[in-house]
């Protein structure tokens, strides 16, 4: 299957997770997308999955503490300056779970886009949106690039007897990672300019026509979104 129908399905599932009312529906979508992400190689998938799960958990833990609604108090905590009284109600918990699952579903959909789709195909199909699609594709590559750079830094440090341990050890790599990323993006931009990017009159490799299955997939993606909007 080409990348465009795949992207349509992922976008439809992410949108469905955002518009669906029932927590169980959102949970099912999130789990389905997680299962798709697990098809990617372990070495590539972990930053996306860890990032998504961590963000969703953070939202799940924090939002009940900061919210103040619902009747049945499950935990009554201390009063904190600025934030006020910390307590957790059953309604806050359910809402937090729902929001965390929505965030997880969107995160997993992005992870599946980054890990499983052929970005070159998307770019070739982008037509007039080519510049924007390329920008997104390059931004998507930032995560694996940073991961490779981080591994390179750690390896080079190990190669001179320095062991990188703990959060503090890894945190000191953030600044060089960012600086390296900026340096690389400048070099890449220079290379693109030298290769004629942005010049008028561009052409593209002829694309094969969509198969009936791919057309059906796009129709299915539309159906998923409408179904979630109307019935879920």
């Amino acid at each position: 299957m080409s990348a465009v129908p795949g992207l349509c399905v992922l976008a439809a599932l992410a949108a469905a997770a955002l518009v669906a009312d029932r927590t169980v529906t959102v949970a099912a979508i999130a789990l389905g997308l997680l299962a798709a992400c697990l098809q990617a190689p372990r070495r590539r998938r972990w930053p996306y999955l860890v990032g998504t799960v961590f963000s969703a958990l953070f939202l799940f833990v924090l939002s009940p503490l900061l919210g103040s609604y619902g009747g049945l108090v499950i935990w009554d905590g201390p009063s904190v300056p600025v934030l006020g009284r910390l307590d957790v109600t059953d309604e806050e918990l359910w809402t937090a779970l729902y929001q965390a699952l929505r965030l997880a579903a969107v995160g997993f959909a992005f992870a599946a886009y980054a890990l499983l789709l052929d970005h070159d195909q998307l770019l070739q199909s982008a037509g007039k949106l080519r510049r924007s699609v390329l920008a997104v594709a390059l931004a998507t590559r930032l995560v694996p690039s940073l991961e490779r750079d981080a591994a390179g830094f750690v390896e080079a440090l190990r190669g001179r007897g320095v062991v990188v341990e703990g959060v503090r050890g890894r945190a000191r790599l953030l600044s060089p990672l960012l600086a390296g990323s900026l340096e690389r993006s400048l070099n890449l931009a220079e290379s693109m300019e030298a290769r004629g990017f942005g010049r008028p009159g561009r052409t593209s490799v002829p694309r094969p026509a969509w198969t009936p299955f791919e057309r059906l997939t796009v129709a299915g993606a539309v159906a998923i979104f409408l179904g979630a909007l109307l019935w879920l």
């Binding site: 052929d118 070159d120 830094f153 080079a156 320095v162 060089p176 390296g180 890449l188 300019e193």
Partner: protein, 451 residues
């Protein structure tokens, strides 16, 4: 009429105290192959960027003089407008790959310059053929070795069928056997300006030689005149492989400090190396050579203890030091001396001595990212040497290093050989012959052999 003409060009990068190019004049005729030599930081890359129009459009800075390429004034025409007629390959292949797939990467430039759609794939595959890399077409660029990536970048430039090809150290990561045929393909029927730090193969093919130092063209002469000038003034640029060396510099009382026995390693199911054997003895210097993708870096990392063999046994006695082929990995701290001191618990006195040993005296307080590429190479070397390892492993330490610095590095390794075993991964046969007591060859079908 000249294909490219530079008239009295003086150029400074933004914020630079000294001009990178000063009063440079030059013409390149159609079909002419021009070899650009000179020390690291001398202005070779800037000269190529000026011909591509990237200086001043992309880099800014102050620009005086005139550059015309194919009749277009580079001050009025952006590099993207020159693309197609002019194609560039830059030093670091890792930083110029835009797309994910190799075939799409080669097609990228063709699409940008408006090649008819029916021709794009044909020309892309033909260009990959020219660099003997058709088999890479379906691979992901991120999976390729440095040498394979360099071939892809060359293919991307050759696919454009430019009138003027600008190559900045395009063979620094290619195995020696591949360099000749690839240069022949690059130089076929077009003007080429090529900067190289392994000048031998280029000097055999060029019509003219420039020597650029301190931002000025010190020599602009025909090949024959240039060879005579180099022999008198810069003989290290004419070093050639002169048979198997050497060396009785280490004693007979040898102790094996690294033993790799039938080791294998694969990255995510893709075979990288082995089963392979390797032994390193205290006091010797060993060169590890082989074609691109043959597993040299992986074997070096196994010898350094950075990777665990997936089968077989690795025995390492003593402390190892490993120099990565990317000096950008040694830019963690804010000062050069602090960077080097990371490996010795912050001992700045030792770090400064190590900086002095590699010729970086006085640069202690500089931010590592403010150093030139050649200085970064030496900083990385200092960061590894300072730990005084029992096993020193250097992965491509001469990439982008000029012949005079290579000679200094060889002398440095020779001076310290008594205190350690040294493994040098290299594509540079002259350097290997200079420093190594023996060579281990990973060419497929060749056994790990003592040359």
């Amino acid at each position: 009429m000249a294909l490219a003409r530079i008239e009295r060009l003086t150029y400074s990068y933004p914020g630079a105290a000294q001009p990178a190019l000063e009063d440079v004049s030059l013409t390149v005729e159609e079909g002419e192959v021009v070899c650009v030599l000179g020390p690291s930081g001398g202005g070779k890359s800037t000269l190529l960027r000026a011909l591509a129009g990237l200086v001043p459009h992309f880099h800014g800075g102050s620009f005086a003089g005139k550059v015309e390429v194919a009749g277009l004034d580079t001050r009025r025409h952006r590099p993207a407008e020159l693309a197609g007629g002019v194609a560039s390959v830059f030093q670091d292949p890792e930083d110029q790959v835009v797309l994910t797939g190799v075939a799409a990467e080669v097609e990228f430039g063709l699409e940008n310059v408006g090649v008819p759609p029916a021709e794009i794939q044909v020309r892309a595959l033909a260009a990959l053929d020219l660099v003997s890399s058709r088999g890479l077409a379906e691979r992901r660029a991120q999976e390729l070795s440095g040498g394979e990536l360099q071939r892809v970048c060359l293919a991307s430039a050759l696919a454009l069928e430019p009138e003027l090809l600008l190559l900045d150290e395009p063979t620094s990561q290619l195995d020696p056997d591949a360099v000749g045929p690839i240069l022949d393909a690059a130089c076929e029927g077009r003007a080429v300006v090529i900067s190289e730090q392994r000048p031998g193969p280029v000097l055999e093919r060029c019509d003219r030689v420039l020597f650029v130092d301190g931002g000025r063209i010190v020599l602009d002469a025909s090949r024959e005149e240039a060879l005579a000038w180099l022999a008198g003034h810069r003989p290290l640029y004419l070093r050639k492989l002169q048979g198997v060396t050497k060396n009785d510099g280490f004693g007979s009382d040898l102790t094996a400090v690294v033993n790799l026995d039938e080791v294998t390693y694969a990255y995510g199911g893709r075979h990288a190396v082995g089963p392979a054997d390797l032994e390193l003895q205290h006091g010797e210097i060993v060169a590890l050579v082989g074609p691109n993708g043959s597993g040299k870096t992986t074997l070096a990392k196994l010898a350094a203890g950075l990777l665990e063999p997936q089968s077989g046994r690795a025995t390492i006695r003593g402390r190892t030091g490993y120099l990565s082929q990317d000096p950008g990995r040694y830019l963690v701290s804010e000062r050069a001396d602090e960077e080097v001191a990371l490996g010795v618990d912050g001992d700045l006195a030792r770090a400064r001595r190590a900086l002095g040993d590699v010729g970086l005296t006085g640069l202690d307080a500089r931010h590592p990212r403010d150093l030139s590429s050649g200085e970064r190479e030496r900083l990385a070397l200092a960061a590894v040497l300072v730990i005084e390892p029992d096993v020193l492993i250097l992965d491509e330490p001469t990439r982008g290093v000029d012949p005079e610095r290579k000679a200094e590095l060889a002398a440095l390794l020779e001076a310290g050989r008594g205190g350690r075993a040294t493994l040098v991964v290299t594509h540079d046969p002259v350097f290997a012959a200079d420093v190594a007591d023996r060579t281990v060859d990973l060419t497929p079908q060749a056994e790990l052999a003592y040359a």
